[in-house]
Symmetry: C2
């Protein structure tokens, strides 16, 4: 799997997650939850603190992911999402090919090969997005198709 293929795979998933954010009613995004879990808006902010910040760290060794988890309007969340999409695309080209197999410590605490760190970020997004699907179904809203990455 090439770096370009991994990026395409991730951005495909990120398009689905963006549609899940869009599918939430404005007044449910940061309020609705099940079983004491976090609302989907908070999960989306967590995903945002792991995505572009991970790529930034892989590129230049700067680790920072302490941005706000406070509620914000859906439009503002989508704007952050789109900014992260562009940043990930832009920074990805700066990752030296050999970096993917090197061992890094991300955010001062997660030590693993770079490709495993990136897979963790993608898997965490899929995991929390799956939770968002249940929230949407519980709200009687049909979630976007899981298999459609366009």
């Amino acid at each position: 799997m090439t770096p370009e293929a991994l990026l395409a795979h991730w951005q495909g998933h990120r398009r689905v997650t963006r549609r899940v954010i869009e599918a939430f009613p404005e007044d449910k995004l940061f309020t609705f939850s099940i079983g004491g879990m976090r609302p989907f808006g908070v999960l989306a902010l967590e995903i945002l603190t792991m995505g572009a910040p991970m790529v930034r760290g892989v590129v230049n060794g700067t680790w920072e992911n302490n941005s706000s988890r406070d509620a914000l309007p859906k439009d503002g969340l989508l704007k952050q999402w789109d900014a992260a999409t562009e940043e990930i695309d832009r920074l990805w080209k700066e990752i030296p090919a050999e970096r993917f197999g090197e061992t890094l410590t991300a955010f001062g605490q997660f030590t693993d090969k770079t490709y495993n760190l990136l897979l963790y970020v993608i898997d965490n997004e899929i995991h929390h997005r799956g939770q968002g699907y249940v929230y949407l179904r519980a709200l009687d809203i049909t979630p976007p198709a899981f298999y459609d990455r366009s």
Copy 2:
């Protein structure tokens, strides 16, 4: 990422999914659901029909995944899970290295590079397992840690 690393990644996820199955009370595994979704036992059976059957197809071109989705006791489901774990480990060694980059049509309908087909199976498992986490929380049961793949 080597074939061995991809297998280790997948089997790590499969250990988490096994713990999610184990965490369900016997009488909720095939009955409890939210928002009209499928119970977790049915999702686990879907995951089983995609895992070992995918690897079987990749190895020998035989595509079959029409096994039962009928409810069964948790112990029986875990036995199927463990049998799939062994089969995946065994068959994985038979996949020629070049096969991962080749394009296949899985189950007569999904055409993609082999590594993408395998990632789809893994992602689908993470996605549905995330739904199982919500079911468990709704049942007031603490799910296993997402990050612990041991």
